[in-house]
Symmetry: C2
DNA sequence: TATTGTTATACTCTATAACTATA
DNA sequence: TATAGTTATAGAGTATAACAATA
């Protein structure tokens, strides 16, 4: 008989699963995982480098290169902030907004598909529990 | 009023959370994420490069460098397979087994801690649903 | 011919430390 | 002084393509 899988093991494996789907959808949209995460974080609003590095959990110096490459590809632009001339705001271009919109839609479909085998009641309960668990996580991915 | 978070958004955020804990515990054990994943995959049994690349979802050529660095650090060894002389088996050293054991224990504690705020009934249900969702995921992390 | 693994190469991602400009 | 951002540097991780050895 198969024992029940532990919570930790389940979380690690689910993460592995989601990561793979995330990367796969990203490839289809010609986005790396890091790029997709950054674009998602910028969907709601432009952010300065420091804020963005905080949301993504990266050093500011790491973010410089990430933004460089995304800017070079025409996905984002850097703009000065007149109220604090030290600040560099990062904003999605139309192309960037388009890319992240496609990514977001496709990823949503794929991830909801992961749950489709669960009975509706169980799925709803699972989703509600999820919401409680991630209440404090920054808005890495909006609804 | 706060709406309910969607399933996709919850999954992405939970993944972000777990990933961060995974990386943090790894750092404490002096293991990168990729190294920790590889060592976990080798906990149960030695694997050839091709099998290991399949479990981890990496190209064989990517794995070569990963194993190189881990071998250089004394975490794994490469051994020939007498039954098929093309095959290179990767095996944990005692140091590697020790490192992955510590990692596994600490990560288990930390991940179970993520669920501790849920009421016991909800937590059990959530864990059971997790088990169903990841039934097909390779043994990236054992119980 | 097919499979296993490595090498060569190139790029992305990430961190630490030192630096510049602005507050 | 403190904060925002960049540069310089180094290393890890990954992929594609070409290759060698074995089946």
């Amino acid at each position: 008989m198969k024992e029940t899988l532990g919570a930790a093991s389940g979380l690690v494996r689910l993460t592995f699963l989601v990561q793979n789907v995330y990367a796969e959808v990203g490839r289809g949209c010609d986005l790396t995982v890091a790029q997709a995460q950054m674009l998602c974080a910028l969907t709601e609003e432009s952010l300065g480098m420091a804020d963005l590095s905080g949301v993504l959990g990266l050093e500011r110096s790491s973010l410089t290169g990430l933004v460089d490459r995304a800017e070079h590809r025409g996905l984002v632009v850097r703009e000065g902030d007149p109220r604090d001339r030290r600040v560099v705001k990062v904003t999605l271009t139309p192309a960037g907004a388009d890319a992240v919109h496609k990514f977001h839609q496709q990823l949503t479909v794929r991830l909801e598909g992961l749950l489709e085998d669960l009975p509706a009641t169980e799925r709803d309960r699972f989703t509600r529990s999820l919401g409680r668990l991630v209440a404090d996580v920054p808005a890495i991915f909006a609804d």
